[in-house]
Amino acid sequence: MVKKIVLSIAAVLFVCASALAQNKQISGTVTGPDGKPVIGATVVVEGTNIGTSTDLNGKYTLSAPTNGTLIVSFIGYTDKSIALNGKTTIDVALSEDTENIDEVVVVGYGSGRKVGTIIGSVDQVKADKLEDRPSANVMDAMQGQVPGLQIFTSSGELDSPSTIRLHGLSSLSASSEPLILLDGAPITTGTLMAMNSNDIESMTVLKDASATSIYGSRAANGVIYVTSKKGSRGQDNAVVTLRAQYSLNNPLKLRMKRMSTDQLLDYNAATYAAWNGDDYANPRVVAAYREMLAGAFGIEDQSVNVDWFKEIMRENAPMYQVDLSVSGGTPKTTYYISGNYTDQVGIAPGSEMTRYTFRANVDSQVKKWLKVGMNLGLGYQKSSNASTQSSAGGLYTDNPIFASFLIPSYQPAQDENGNDLDFLSFYGVENPKYADKWYKLLGNRIQLNGSAFVQLNPVKGLSIRSQLSANAFDYRSTTSMSPSWPTETGVQGVGSISEGFQRNYDWTWTNTAEYKHTFAEKHNMTVLVGHESIYGNTQFFSAGTKGQAFDDLLNLGAGTENIGLPNYSTGEYAYNSVFARAEYDFAERYFVDGSVRYDACSRFGAENKGAIFWSVGAMWNIKNEAFLSDVKQITALALKASYGTQGNSSIGNYSQYQLVAPSSYPYDREYAMGFASMGNPYLAWEKQSTLTIGANIELWRKLSLSIDWYRRETTDMLMPRPLAPSAGFSSYTSNIGAMRNSGIDVGLNYTIFANKDWYVNFYANFNYNRNQITKLWEEGLEKSSLGDGTMMYYIVGKPFGSFYCQEWRGIDPQTGDTLWTAADGGTTNNFDEAVEVDLNKSTQAPFSGGFGIAVSWKGIGLNADFAWVQGNYMVNNNLYFFANPDFLGYGQVTEALDYWKRPGDNVTYPRLDVPIQFDSHLIEDASFLRLKNLQVSYTLPTHLLKNQNILSGFKVYVSARNLFTATKYKGLDPEVADGLGAFDADNYPNTRQWTFGCEFKF
């Protein structure tokens, strides 16, 4: 099948590339206003299909009829037409296009629009910010690039998706992830993560109602529009790019330090003394207990002092990446073909990933009125995971992240012969450093993202387009336990394996008709209508066997019996939609637009399947007013406002139904079923309205500033409404709550200096977002716990994830007791009397942003990108385990040594016989500033490449990711958290990477 596709693509390319008529040879050089050659300018003969593009020296050659007219164009320059009049050498000097410097952005359906004429609030991130990054995860590079878009790479696991939030959290039960579109078709975050980031031309973030409402029921969290790369029309000198890079990954710098054997034994001995009511401040008492404990534990050699974090975590874990792309085009056809190979090893044992991707994007203007195209991406990704929370390990002692702190330092790493131990007897589990030898968590994914379109242009201004997209992936997972799994006294002796298969596919068929027309030269209008149907399907089954006796025969067929019955599930969903959009502007000064969409979705109850979403927007481009035309300092100035509605339908496919399902277990050989789901037939869309008011200004063509103020109101918010457990259920999902996000986005871009040799640019962006729950499930209900043990409440008027719990008030210097806030506002040393207090802290960061600088001088480039968030809090759940005397026999961190010994001590940890409670002392400021990317590159000047015609460009670079992080957070990584964004316990941290790479262009 793949072979056939490749062959047919090759055939298409071949046909398109031949077919140039024979005429008179014309040649010349195209230069820019500075007299330097313009590379890649398009030169075509008007009214024909003849065309070419200029080479590295700005030269072109083509055959043209002697009476023809050449049209020379290049982005950012004004098109120039020159009549040939028999001349054979024509040099062309292009001048900068001061009107047309903006690039094209796709907003909604239909053709692209110039940035300056879009009413909607959009931000575009181009390939240069995404290429050559030391992470295989494309979203990681987006962090800090777009105001209001928060991205957290919430696990160091190589195939785990980032968390993406635009303008805060808008939903509690449905998803808060933006809609991601690849060339117009919806894809999942996972699919985007599995793509080659070098295949992406741009990512456009659509933020306000004017830009997103046309996506209706899926647009509540904004839209990220991903455009894959294409060739350039008429560029018959194809560009071949070969890129190779090598990275080394290392753990981030630790802020928690493991206790040494000495420290740990003394700490344990002091604890033991405290439990027995002895004076643990007396070193002689401690020494006596220490000998007693060492004897009891059987610690023979107290000089053993192993740093288990270093022992378990890999250093200099490598990553290779090679990719090759070919792009080019004839006057009628463009093509872009690429292949990529990535191989990466993570820092935690078992964490590995290998990925192959291929992409072919082709389009062709086959007739004057007909254009067809096809984009096809194929990928295969094979991964192995560490047994951390994100996979299956959970809060278990054999989780490598957890173990790297909890294994006591006196646990030797090697046996007497110097071989690494398989089993750690003081810790009671197999050596986590080799856990992946015995416990495998493997997955592989093959994915296909394809779309094909036909576009008709029957009359000028009207384009009718039909696009069919398919996104599909198969995911295979394997979990196995080896028979040689080490135990205290040998090996388990019996293995097991389970295999899962998941197939997901969805079809999106989009049909649009767009008509653009200009009346009386000044009245520009565009009208678009369309229809869209989406169908999605998921299938899953898994089976397991056990009894495998050999490590090398650990497969499903080699067991002796089944592990229960196989699992099976399927799911389907569909949307039918119609939509329309109208835009009008007068002389590019006054703009208005409006859109409306009707969506019907299978996921909602019969009464609530359909909904209408709409938007209106207006913009005043003040710069185009006569009174500003002479003001040279102001090069752009516009004001805009939009309002509209969107929906959120990211819930389970069948949440509306009351269901009875087969039991996995027959009873007494008879068929059994059980009550599976109570269902809510009244389930409906989560609705949202967004009001955005913005302005942008550009001065001296160098300094641009944009400011947007927004308010997003989520109503009919899907929320788990608590039920009395005695009625049989803990909660059910219903359209009951309301939430608001309001804030501002500020973007600044300043080209400080730009001349022949120098280019210095600075950018910064900032977002303030105030998240507030505005209504809970009952009128008048002001707050409700998120669940006991979470320390969080839903509080009306406050952000989601507000900490409201027993407040730790320090240690009483006189008694060494822990103090908590009591009912009277004072303190108590009795945890049962401690009251829950609103800490005015939340998991949601009100401030976030990024800034960076790009400097280049004669081919040497320096790029630095910083990302930051401020004002969010996280539970450093690790410390509950790593700084707790009750965990006698486990490793601890040095922070816990600051415990109370005698009256007058001002310390952070209580007397050793006072139990550590799960209270506010674990809540830490998780704000951080991170140097996300630092890159130094050197691009070989073109004149050095003059005397050969093989290489047309060469670049080398060194880059670093997460080189430096400033934070007060004491855990492993402030960026990682669980699904609630609140707990950091045994999460796999991000890494620091150094990358060396080079790029050849032929």
Binding site: A296, G493, G564, F675, P725, G728
Partner: protein, 505 residues
């Protein structure tokens, strides 16, 4: 004009294109409204059996065992069950919430079943008789759930104060939105007895050993339990002794071993089915053992998270530091084994009762800890009769000695009064250890406890002597567990929290 015509024509063409069907239903379940046949009802009935077998499986009975003076937590516990062992429970404890919620979830399933059963009986009158029988079973299961909840979350049933003591909500209709009051303990037990009465009207056939379905005998056994807990000794003795004939006690150590390690015995009045396919249904208490096979010396070594206290070991009359004893249970249900805890090799006693049904082991060297859920055993009936007779001033020695003699022990003679009661209490521990009775027994007897520990594990016990030498007086109100905060938060009608537990919300 031509342009506009084109435009409109293309729009119409687009809208005319086909759309997806939006009526999508799952194919991995049946919609509630489609549960209309006797086959559905039969399948749901089996689902209820699964529910009871699962919720009553031995892995779910460990918490009340850890709470009392049966086991010491070792450094291998990984804090599993530690909050029970250390008496650190709070109303926010997630294990307590899980126990509460799981029983009520089964009750809700039962009430849903009863509703659907009525619907189907109306549609298919020919099947009304079968459906009525299934409903009787369901009500019996409901009574079991209510009783299990009352044992954990209410005070001991004392006839004089039950009318004012706090009960638990007893929902009898399917209503996920209900917010029920906890009522009094009197009301709770009335509902339990009402359910039993309805069940025994239709479930009238005698069972046979190891029945997998409800029988008249299972109902009698349950009635004996209820009567004992209600201090209704006359009836407790009558119901208990009514089961003896059909379920003879075993006559050898081997037969006793088969009861626990092959799930086969004449003593079992009712137990859930357990096969290799359904092994995942029951939860196994692996923390008593965690055994690994030593392929060289061909023995199991154990890393238990909980080891029996010394006084428990002493109850079985082992000859010093051996596995030898007259008591058949010694060496089979509790055994002296090689222990490896926290790098420390010792020989000590562990609870081997729940090492699992060995016929279902994948390989003999790998334990599963999965034992069929024995809902009712005749041995407990002898103990109920003994206690009831004692309390009523009747002949307690006969039932006690009958059981003793079928456990390899000599009959006791000439003892009376507290000495006799002490023997009954000891016999209950010996026979029922690990099955989750002792906390409820202590409450019924109004007794506290003091823990001790085996010297063999003294170096590797978790926590301080405050834990492993803990004393709890019977007056401590925390013998009654806290109602989970989730209930109090979501149910404004519930009523008070139990005495002694923080009611801060």
């Amino acid at each position: 004009m031509k342009k506009i015509t084109y435009f409109i024509a293309s729009v119409v063409a687009l809208l005319g294109l086909s759309s997806c069907n939006l009526d999508m239903r799952p194919d991995t379940g049946v919609l509630g409204q489609d549960v209309t046949t006797i086959e559905h009802i039969k399948a749901l009935r089996n689902g209820l059996y699964n529910n009871i077998v699962s919720v009553q499986s031995y892995g779910n009975q460990v918490y009340q065992e850890y709470y009392v003076d049966l086991f010491n937590e070792t450094m291998s516990s990984g804090n599993r069950g530690g909050y029970f062992s250390q008496w650190l429970l709070t109303a926010s404890d997630q294990d307590v919430n899980a126990i509460w919620s799981t029983y009520y979830s089964v009750v809700s399933n039962i009430n849903y079943f009863l509703m659907k059963a009525d619907d189907v009986a109306a549609l298919q009158p020919d099947n009304a008789e079968d459906i009525a029988y299934y409903k009787a079973e369901a009500k019996f299961f409901r009574a079991i759930c209510f009783h299990q909840l009352a044992l954990r979350f209410c005070k001991d049933y004392t006839p004089a104060t039950a009318i004012t003591d706090l009960g638990i909500p007893t929902p009898t209709v399917y209503n996920p939105y209900a917010k029920l009051e906890r009522g009094t303990l009197e009301m709770t037990y009335k509902q339990i007895n009402d359910d039993i009465k309805e069940a025994e009207l239709l479930i009238t056939e005698a069972g046979e050993p190891c029945s997998t379905r409800l029988s008249k005998d299972a109902i009698a056994a349950f009635k004996a339990q209820i009567a004992l807990h209600m201090h209704d000794y006359q009836n407790a003795a009558t119901y208990a002794s009514s089961t003896y004939a059909g379920y003879p006690l075993v006559n050898s150590k081997e037969e006793l071993d088969e009861m626990w390690h092959e799930d086969s015995s004449t003593e079992v009045i009712m137990q859930g089915t357990l096969t290799a396919t359904t092994i995942g249904l029951v939860s196994g208490p692996s923390d008593y053992l965690s055994g690994t096979w030593d392929f060289e010396s061909e023995v199991f070594h154990y890393t238990p998270a909980y080891t029996p206290e010394q006084w428990i070991v002493d109850l079985y009359g082992f000859e010093k530091d051996t596995n030898n004893s007259k008591d058949w249970r010694a060496g089979t249900l509790i055994s002296r084994e090689s222990l490896y805890i926290y790098s420390d090799w010792q020989t000590g006693y562990v609870l081997t009762k729940f090492s699992g049904n060995r016929n279902l082991f994948t390989v003999p060297t790998s334990l599963t800890y999965k034992t069929a859920t024995k809902l009712f055993r005749v041995a407990e009936m002898y103990l109920i009769e003994a206690e009831a007779q004692y309390m009523n001033g009747g002949d307690a020695l006969t039932p006690l000695n009958t059981l003793r003699q079928h456990r390899g022990l000599d009959p006791l003679t000439g003892i009376t009064g507290e000495e006799l009661m002490a023997e009954i209490e000891k016999e209950r521990v010996r026979e029922l250890i690990g099955e989750g009775h002792r906390l409820f027994d202590l409450k019924r007897w109004g007794k506290g406890f003091t823990r001790d520990y085996q010297m063999a594990v003294s170096d590797v016990l978790s926590g301080s002597k405050k834990i492993y030498q803990m004393t709890q007086p019977a007056t401590n109100p925390k013998f009654v567990w806290p109602v989970p905060m989730e209930e109090l938060h979501a149910n404004a009608n519930f009523g008070e929290q139990n005495t002694g537990w923080s009611s801060v919300q």
